[in-house]
Amino acid sequence: MMAVLELHDVKKSYGSDHKKVDALKETNFLADRGELIAIIGPSGSGKSTFLTIVGGLLTPSSGDVIINGQNLTTLSEKQRSQIRLKEIGFVLQSSNLVPFLSVANQMKLLDKVKKGNMSKKDCEKLYEELDIADLLTKYPSDLSGGQRQRVAIAKALYSNPSIILADEPTASLDSDRAYEVMELLKKITKQKKTTTIVVTHDIRLVDYCDKVYRMTDGVLAEEEKHEQSPQLAGAHH
């Protein structure tokens, strides 16, 4: 079966000659449907470079990024934008909700730009699944951090994307809310068979993931997954 996401010999460098910096060294990566993958590593290690290349926001210096058989590196910016709209859902730290739109209107906006990807019934089901049905009339400023991220996940799932890219989705949350969000990401990854990639520096969250990759100085390497970490065991109910 074809992988949802494939990276072949992808490199990203900045500058030239002796000032050249390799933000991402030769990387090969495969992700299948229904996989929740964590990319961990310290700040500046290249995690965000990886995420933005996968998300079609950054063009690699060399190599191929293939999403559902379409090579992003051969597409125009407009075509990549269309891929992002249809195939990729983003969950960011805290700022991906439009402050002046109610929760219901956040979804309505997506419906306008994505032209009716979800029926009303599907939307209601999604709201129930993410436990945001009671929040529809509220604005982002009225929501707690955890509620905001649940709405952000609902937005990311709106067009039934095949890939969800989450950049530090728990960074602004306390531990309980962070675990709640990871539980939710795991649940939807399995239920909706999406490929979910979570970039985080919070090692406590890796136990929710099927695969863990560590990024160190631009080199991506898969780590053997350990059992629940001691911190997580202590904090997780």
């Binding site: 965000s48 933005t52 983003f90 402050p99 002046f100 739109l101 730009v113 950049d167």
Partner: protein, 355 residues
């Protein structure tokens, strides 16, 4: 439009402020346009009433009616469909109680510049005049005997006509002999053929006269050469055009600040695949909504103010001009969104998600 309207609904105070500024600017533009039109009317309404195509003056008068002196015999040198002789002088008229600057026109009753009498009757006898009804507001009435500065002749108002002001002075229409008596006094008989100009109606304004001492002047050119007319018009128009620029600049600054505050939000939306064109269109639509509301409020308040203004204020609202200025105002205000659109187009979604 959805995004634009939702933001306006949520941030009412912010957008009320921008709309308020547009409203005040548009109110000022409409009011100035009314003032420009009113002041222009003060100068030209008597001339407009002639519905003439041109006026013949002496070449040496430099397009000034009061400085043009010619003989009535020079009518023979004028080749036009219709002609009307005209004598003109300025004076102060007094009825004993009130004094007013007036322009006295000497005309022939059977020629096309004879005004339509709206009250009273036309002049029939010597020393009778039809007066501009603007004089009524200054206390003049039918039957009043008028004494004029620099003349011993007394005139009697026998009727009124509307829209009869020339160079801001109300006009008194008299027959040619009465005019000559006022102007030349005892020498009137010797000067009975003296007039200031010949007003003509003709399809063409070229070849109206072959006499090198005479000049055929298009009516619009004649009006533009009335003392102070062009300077006044240019000043007010300059103010209006400057207000257009100001409204565009104000909107541009406001929207730019708002857009800069939303850069990270727009960046995230672009990262999510929402196109720059959708976001740009939203800002343009928002500006258009604000400019429509601001301009409409300015328009309404201008008309409302007009009903309360005393007659002494020379405003005259030309609805067509107001609509044209309103449309220009909306367009230039909307053009103020250009900087915001450029900012949106340049936003790198990569930065929004920390790449």
């Amino acid at each position: 439009m959805f995004l634009a309207w939702q933001e306006i609904k949520k941030n009412k105070l912010r957008f009320t402020l921008i709309t308020g500024i547009l409203f005040l600017v548009s109110y000022l533009v409409f009011f100035l346009s009314g003032l420009a039109s009113g002041l222009a009317s003060l100068n030209r309404e008597a001339v407009d009433k002639w519905e003439a195509s041109a006026i013949i003056l002496t070449d040496e008068s430099d397009k000034s009616l009061s400085q043009s002196f010619m003989s009535i015999d020079q009518l023979e040198d004028v080749n036009a469909e219709k002609t009307a002789v005209l004598g003109q002088l300025n004076a102060i008229a007094s009825n004993g109680d009130s004094k007013q600057n007036i322009a006295l026109f000497g005309i022939n009753e059977d020629e096309f510049i004879m005004p339509k009498v709206t009250e009273g009757s036309a002049f029939k006898e010597a020393n009778e005049v039809i007066a501009s009804d603007a004089l009524k507001e200054d206390g003049f009435d039918i039957g009043d005997t008028l004494s004029l500065s620099s003349s011993d002749v007394e005139l009697t108002i026998v009727g009124f006509t509307d829209d009869a002001r020339f160079n801001a002075a109300p006009v008194l229409y008299a027959d040619l002999p009465t005019f000559q008596e006022v102007k030349f006094g005892e020498a009137a008989e010797q000067n009975e053929d003296q007039i200031n100009g010949i007003v003509v109606q003709d399809k063409s304004v070229s070849n109206l006269t072959q006499n090198e001492d005479l000049e055929a002047i298009e009516i619009q050119t004649f009006i533009e050469n009335l003392p102070g007319y062009t300077a006044q018009k240019l000043t007010l128009n300059f103010m209006i055009y400057f207000l257009f620029a100001i409204s565009s600049i104000i909107v541009a600054i406001f929207l730019y600040v708002l857009t800069v505050q939303k850069i990270s939000m727009f960046g995230v939306m672009k990262a999510q695949g929402i196109s720059s064109s959708y976001l740009s269109w939203s800002v343009v639509a928002q500006t258009f909504i604000l400019s429509i509301v601001g301009t409409a409020l300015g328009f309404a308040l201008t008309l409302l103010s007009g009903t309360f203004l005393p007659a002494a204020v020379p405003v005259s609202f030309d609805l067509l001009v107001m609509v044209i200025y309103g449309v220009i105002l909306m367009l230039v205000a909307t053009a103020g969104a250009v900087f915001s659109v450029l900012t949106i187009v340049r936003i790198d979604p990569l930065k929004a998600i920390g790449g």
